[in-house]
């Protein structure tokens, strides 16, 4: 490719990105203003910059750290549970021929047609019947269940593409299906596992309605509930809200940066070819 066309590429890319980034910029910058500055000049650079809002959240209030801890625990376990259940299921569907693999595939994929909102009340009743209301476990189980369809969808697509010869080679060497799973599939699967991890993480970390309904104890609240607590019934402390949002985003941003490479290769192999 010629350099000249790269220059125009860069210019177009940067301009588009700047437009896209604007809302995020407004938030990131908002936390460094007082509420007064923010309302008088919402999008300008803070002058002078103040760290009061950030200090308030990080130092004065123990809440933020509690919310963060809960979000990490909940999302972490949701991801773990999703992987532990989705990988074997996707393996069975994609690598073993039996009557009904197509059925099970469609059965799980059908779940992609429902947003969690649709069944929120029956789900709530279900959690109550199991005695899981008010517990993080109830939240984790239901979030993991709702992330299964997408995960199985992506993983099945990926596993299908692993050459059959490999599987047969394992059998000839006297290995079982489990040998095949652990020795061949898992080592090859880091891209697709990363993709599923990040998609599940995004969904779980950002869920608002489920945790709101399931959790009662403020000490178990996750970050989106924390944002709600900040907004309050009657108050709009915009600068604090923005500082809170910015900080709450950092863990996600870091993780995304680390996993970015894998997302694309995982999607390449999984969803796109599936």
């Amino acid at each position: 490719m010629v350099n000249k066309s790269n220059t125009s590429r860069i210019i177009i890319g940067v301009v588009c990105a700047a437009i896209f980034f604007f809302p995020v910029y407004a938030v990131a910058i908002g936390g460094f203003k007082t509420n007064g500055q923010l309302l008088n000049d919402p999008f300008g650079l803070p002058n002078p910059a103040t760290f009061e809002a950030y200090k308030m959240i990080l130092l004065k209030s123990a809440d933020f750290w509690v919310f963060l801890g809960n979000s990490v625990v909940v999302s972490g376990l949701v991801i773990l549970l999703t992987l532990v259940t989705a990988i074997p299921a996707a393996l069975a569907i994609s690598r073993i021929e039996f009557r009904g693999n197509k059925f099970f595939y469609n059965f799980f994929i059908m779940g992609m047609l429902f947003p969690i909102t649709v069944a929120i009340l029956p789900l709530y009743l279900q959690l109550r019947n199991f005695g899981l209301l008010g517990t993080r476990l109830g939240l984790i189980l239901s979030q993991a269940a709702f992330s299964l369809p997408m995960s199985i969808f992506i993983m099945t697509g990926f596993f299908k593409d692993i050459p059959k010869d490999l599987q047969e080679a394992v059998y000839i060497d006297g290995g079982t299906f489990f040998t095949f799973g652990f020795k061949i599939i898992l080592p090859l699967s880091s891209p697709v596992i990363s993709t599923v991890t990040i998609i599940t993480l995004i969904q779980s970390w950002n869920q608002f309605l489920m945790p709101l309904l399931v959790l009662n104890d403020t000490n178990k609240f996750t970050i989106p509930l924390g944002i709600m607590q900040f907004q309050g019934q009657f108050t709009t402390n915009w600068n604090q809200i923005m500082a809170f949002i910015t900080i709450a985003l950092l863990p996600m941003v870091l993780l995304y940066i680390f996993l970015q490479k894998y997302i694309i290769s995982g999607l390449t192999a999984g969803a796109v070819k599936g």
């Binding site: 919402p42 299921a89 279900q126 985003l249 941003v253 997302i263 969803a271």
Partner: protein, 299 residues
């Protein structure tokens, strides 16, 4: 005889293996997704306020009421608007950006990609807060722009029944574009560069290459992306809710906010469930058509 027993044994072993592999996911899925969803379907045949006993069976009356309700029509049209905006603006733009940023041609590409993907990471509730701030009629961006370039009138997009939903469409495009861009970038990796090179040798220009070489070889990516985008468009909820709860005057209602406003908020749980079932049927029918005519044709 022996081989038959062996075969049977092998078969039994296979069934056990399959069962063991599928059981955890199936149990989890059935208990927390299938059962609640089917229950919601069951409630749709009742007039039920969600409290008290479920004894007022009214058959399909809830569904009749849905189809007569004008606000339901508004909601359905809005969902279709989301579909159109996705297909006509969002996906082409995402594809354009993927072509621009997907081939690792210059340093910093990864950073730009991250910026486009970023809104997808944001919680819906957070996106709502941010955009409400940006759209604020008194100090928000539209008003600032109007002061700079127009007559300085304050502009209140979210309070204008004719423009509120368009303002929401902007947010939807902004939020989900990055996801599709990443899908397309992933798809691009699968386009053999030899094909492109061959086309260049043949003297094809850029657009011809994109049209004749890249797009056909990314067909399966488009199939997935369009599918997700349409299903997502019908299920859209959080962003719309966070921005205006379906207002002003129900003009920005979508099917799921409608479900929430007219089912949950009014204690009409049977009715809300009927809306949920309708939504599911729309997605399901679309799914079948899509599988039949688009996906199978590709194969």
């Amino acid at each position: 005889m022996v081989s038959l027993t062996a075969k049977r044994q092998e078969n039994a072993r296979k069934v056990a293996l399959v069962a063991a592999l599928l059981a955890p996911a199936t149990v989890l899925f059935v208990l927390f997704v299938v059962v609640p969803v089917v229950q919601a379907g069951y409630y749709s045949f009742f007039k039920w306020n969600g409290i008290g006993s479920l004894d007022n069976f009214i058959g399909l009356k809830n569904f009749g009421k849905i189809f007569k309700d004008k606000i339901f029509h508004i909601a359905l049209i809005n969902n279709i608007k989301v579909v159109v905006a996705s297909l006509v603006i969002q996906l082409p733009l995402a594809f354009f950006l993927a072509l621009l940023l997907g081939r690792s041609r210059f340093r910093g590409e990864a950073i730009l990609r991250s910026i486009f993907f970023f809104p997808y990471i944001l919680a819906e509730i957070v996106s709502g807060i941010i955009w409400k701030f940006i759209y604020n009629p008194q100090f928000g961006l539209p008003t600032i722009l109007s002061r700079l370039f127009l007559d300085g009138h304050e502009i209140g997009l979210m309070g204008d029944p004719h423009r509120a939903f368009n303002a929401i469409l902007v947010v939807i495009i902004w939020k989900y574009l990055g996801f599709h861009m990443v899908l397309y970038i992933a798809g691009l990796q699968g386009v053999p560069s030899e094909l492109e090179d061959a086309a260049v040798v043949d003297g094809a220009n850029k657009f011809q290459i994109i049209w004749n070489v890249i797009i056909p070889s990314m067909k399966s990516t488009f199939i997935i992306s369009i599918f997700m985008s349409i299903i997502g468009a019908f299920n859209i909820f959080d962003v719309v809710w966070a921005l205006g709860q379906g207002g002003p005057v129900h003009t920005s209602e979508t099917l799921v906010t409608y479900l929430y406003n007219f089912g949950f908020k009014r204690f009409a749980f049977g009715y809300g469930s009927a809306v949920a079932v309708t939504l599911f049927l729309i997605c399901f029918v679309f799914n079948i058509f899509y599988q039949k005519f688009v996906v199978s044709e590709e194969k």
